[in-house]
Symmetry: C2
Subunit: 202 residues, 2 copies
DNA sequence: CGTGAAAAAGAACGATCATTCGTTTTTATT
DNA sequence: AATAAAAACGAATGATCGTTCTTTTTCACG
């Protein structure tokens, strides 16, 4: 006989995941203890283990959620008439959310190289993001709005390298200032995509 | 009464550091045990603790050594007549050394946000690298060999962001291929530095 | 060689951690 | 309200890890 409504169950599970996310970002996956997470979530070990069967499951849960949110944000990227403006907005959007989330992305990226389960999830995130940009750039090239020197696959590779660089630096360098690096990076990306002259305001 | 010559002492300490580096790159700082390192170095815990007083000291030792090697390579960067070619070589050089070293760089970068001692070392590495490029770009601008749109500080920031992106991706993405992304990234960097037309062969 | 101190070994210790389990509390249903 | 099962609690457990300590080995010097 079920006791808690599915919504409540989901709510508590999310609550624990939030707490775990904060702890993981603060100390890394392998230096946060289950007690840390219990304290942060104000929940007993016994309760925690009802929602997540192990620390591994908690890590995987965090990754899954990151994937969902990533996918969401990318999916609704406004592909307006001003490409570089849209990319600038997207970049700003990422740099605006809390440091702890960006640290978590980096943490997940590293964990993915060592934990097969996380690796799978990460690979699917990567695939989604890469696919989104690939489709976008392909469409833009077909429409004659960009004229890149390299083929789209290569352009996407380079673009994602620059984006990851920004993510990494924003998470790791305390002196990082998005307002300063974003303009030159957009200039560099523009050299990659080569938007055609009348792209800005058609 | 000293028993082992300073060279032997240094040799053994380096040997342990090598082993620790491999372990740390493989499993991360906090998932490698002292026993792992002992096994890899073929040394007993008792012996290890003669050379390094704690796991922390071992981590710090790894960072220090990374710093020294980084500094070395950057210091002897050939600033020939072909700037973009020199940068391409530098990039290739980094992508050529073993994955385990690049993973270690990433690991150190994250650890630096959480471990004050490592943070200090990392900050000094960063400062050195940034300084090297700042000096180089400043000189090149004064000589009229580059004409960047942004001021040198900003250009260095953006440049290092792209470089870090490459380091990160090369360490974390198993499908990463330096030969593919290097050319477009150099194109992007060229848009940042804007080398003057006759830079290539004067 | 013999010696004494440094170096290495590796079993053992104490602390910490993930996880479990017996008990108590909560809550949807009667 | 009464109840029965789910949910939560938190002390206990067993495993693991960093570190220490006692013993053995190695080695420069007499």
């Amino acid at each position: 006989m079920a006791k808690l409504s599915p919504e409540t169950l989901r709510e508590r599970s999310d609550h624990i995941l939030d707490a775990a996310g904060r702890c993981f970002a603060r100390a890394g996956f392998h230096r946060t203890t289950m007690q840390d997470i219990c304290r942060e979530a104000e929940v007993s070990p016994g309760a925690l283990y009802i929602y997540f069967t192990s620390k591994e499951a908690l890590i995987a849960g965090i990754c899954e959620r990151e994937r969902a949110e990533f996918a969401n944000r990318f999916a609704q990227m406004p592909v307006g008439s001003d490409l570089m403006g849209a990319l600038a907005n997207l970049g700003r959007q990422f740099l605006e959310d809390p440091l702890h989330r960006r640290l978590l992305c980096v943490e997940v990226g590293i964990e993915a190289t060592r934990n097969p389960k996380v690796g799978e999830i990460q690979k699917s995130v990567e695939g989604f993001i890469r696919g989104s940009f690939h489709d976008l750039f392909t469409k833009l090239e077909a429409e004659g709005r960009i004229a890149p020197t390299f083929d789209i696959d290569t352009v996407v590779d380079a673009f994602m390298t620059i984006a990851d660089g920004m993510l990494w630096r924003s998470a790791v360098d305390e002196k990082f200032n998005g307002d300063v690096v974003l303009p030159p990076l957009l200039q560099a990306i523009a050299a990659l995509l080569r938007p055609v002259a009348d792209e800005a305001k058609p």
